[in-house]
């Protein structure tokens, strides 16, 4: 529970930071881009792991 809170804290602060900048347009692009990257890393890791298992 505690570790989940620690993990979400930086995400919330990042969003606040971007809002501070007053660049909502950045927020709209950067957040989905980061989500896409996170998904991409996870997908690449699972591909690499399954490739290793097949070998």
């Amino acid at each position: 529970m505690k570790s989940n809170r620690t993990m979400w804290l930086p995400v919330v602060v990042s969003v606040l930071l971007l809002m501070l900048l007053g660049r909502i347009d950045l927020l709209v692009i950067v957040i989905p881009l980061a989500a896409l990257l996170a998904y991409g890393f996870w997908w690449l890791q699972s591909r690499a792991t399954s490739h290793q298992r097949k070998m």
Partner: protein, 361 residues
């Protein structure tokens, strides 16, 4: 609790990497027009980065990916405010190869990061001071870390394999000692029991013979001590001819008539030791369990194989394989041989192993 896990091989390196964070802080320091808002953003982003950075060392898949993407997002989002935020992109690129286990896929990860940077730079016209170092250094760090991560994984696998080999060697040595001790001690103790029983019976009527048996017991005990010492050191070499003499002596002491046919068979010391220990254990079993009147020992050579037969006319009957028989089987199978047990009339044990196989080993 430390900032990075102590059970991994990171050492002090994660702290040294933080030196590059100076590039992010340097920009507002050197720029005389830095506003309070930029300072606030820079310092807050530094704190957020440190939390994400150290958290990454503790978090495994899948939650480490949002954390890493969070660092990348800070790099992408803050490029316009502070071009030094390119270090966040570089940190992300340096982490990717450690999280994605195959070099090709890790490089795709670095490529995806650079692509995201390209989109961000194109859409928002990011300054060159931000995207140029991001692209160049990220690719360089990504490539070199891919190499180091792969090397690190190979070393870890090697360490694991070495650990496994050491463990197997220990188990094999433990099994050898257990098997040798069982055969040597079992035989010697049986011999001591038989001879001391005999000495007890002879004591009143034939004291001279009893004295001779007691002297034998002393000799056997001394020999056994030396054998146990050699067994524990792994230096034991057993001679088959000596073992046949010993077998005859033991069986006769136990009142069992012996018929021995021992042909000259040329064997390696390892094969001879195995044959001798098999003979010893089989004879011990005859004395201890068979209640036999006669026992035949046969050693012969058949088509390049050594044939060892021990047959008694005792009670026979099928019984589950105990430590002794299992030990004999393991010894013979290690030489590429086979064991047959026939318990229909008395017990007949037949061991056969190739004589040439030891040269190939």
């Amino acid at each position: 609790m430390g900032l990075v896990p102590e059970n991994r091989d990171h050492g002090w390196v994660p702290y040294v990497w933080l030196v590059f964070l100076a590039f992010f802080l340097l920009n507002p320091i050197l720029d005389p027009h830095t506003t309070a808002k930029v300072w606030l953003i820079t310092l807050s982003a530094t704190i957020v980065f440190l939390v994400l950075y150290f958290r990454l060392f503790w978090t495994g898949p899948p939650w480490n990916y949002p954390l890493l993407a969070g660092i990348a997002a800070m790099g992408l989002g803050l490029g316009h405010t502070n071009p030094g935020s390119c270090v966040f992109i570089i940190y992300t690129a340096s982490f990717i190869p450690w999280m994605i286990p195959k070099p090709r896929w890790a490089m795709f990860g670095v490529g995806a990061l650079v692509a995201a940077l390209g989109i961000d730079a194109l859409l928002f016209h990011a300054p060159i001071a931000f995207w140029a170092p991001s692209v160049i250094v990220s690719l360089g760090v990504g490539f070199s870390n891919t190499y180091f991560a792969e090397k690190n994984r190979a070393n870890a696998k090697l360490r694991m394999a070495q650990g496994e080999i050491e463990h197997l060697a220990k188990v094999a040595e433990r099994e050898r000692i257990a098997r040798d001790l069982h055969d040597v001690l079992g035989h010697t103790l049986s011999l001591i029991i038989v001879k001391s029983t005999l000495a007890g019976k002879l004591l009143e009527k034939y004291p001279e013979k009893a004295r001779s048996e007691v002297a034998d017991i002393e000799k056997v005990s001394r020999e056994a001590m030396a054998e146990i010492r050699n067994t524990l050191r792994g230096y034991s070499v057993y001679k088959l001819t000596e073992e046949v003499h010993r077998a005859k002596s033991v069986l006769q002491s136990a009142g069992v008539r012996v018929m021995a046919e021992a042909a000259e068979v040329s064997m390696s010391p390892a094969q001879e030791s195995v044959a001798a220990l098999i003979m010893r254990e089989a004879v011990t079993n005859v004395v201890r369990h068979a209640h036999a009147r006669t026992c035949q020992l046969r050693i012969s050579c058949n088509n390049g194989n050594c044939l060892l037969e021990i047959q008694d006319d005792g009670r026979g009957g099928f019984q589950a394989e105990g430590n002794g028989l299992r030990g004999m089987r393991e010894r013979v199978e290690a030489l590429g041989g086979t064991v047959e047990r026939d318990t229909a009339a008395g017990t007949k044990l037949r061991f056969e192993f190739p004589l040439a196989a030891d040269d190939k080993r």
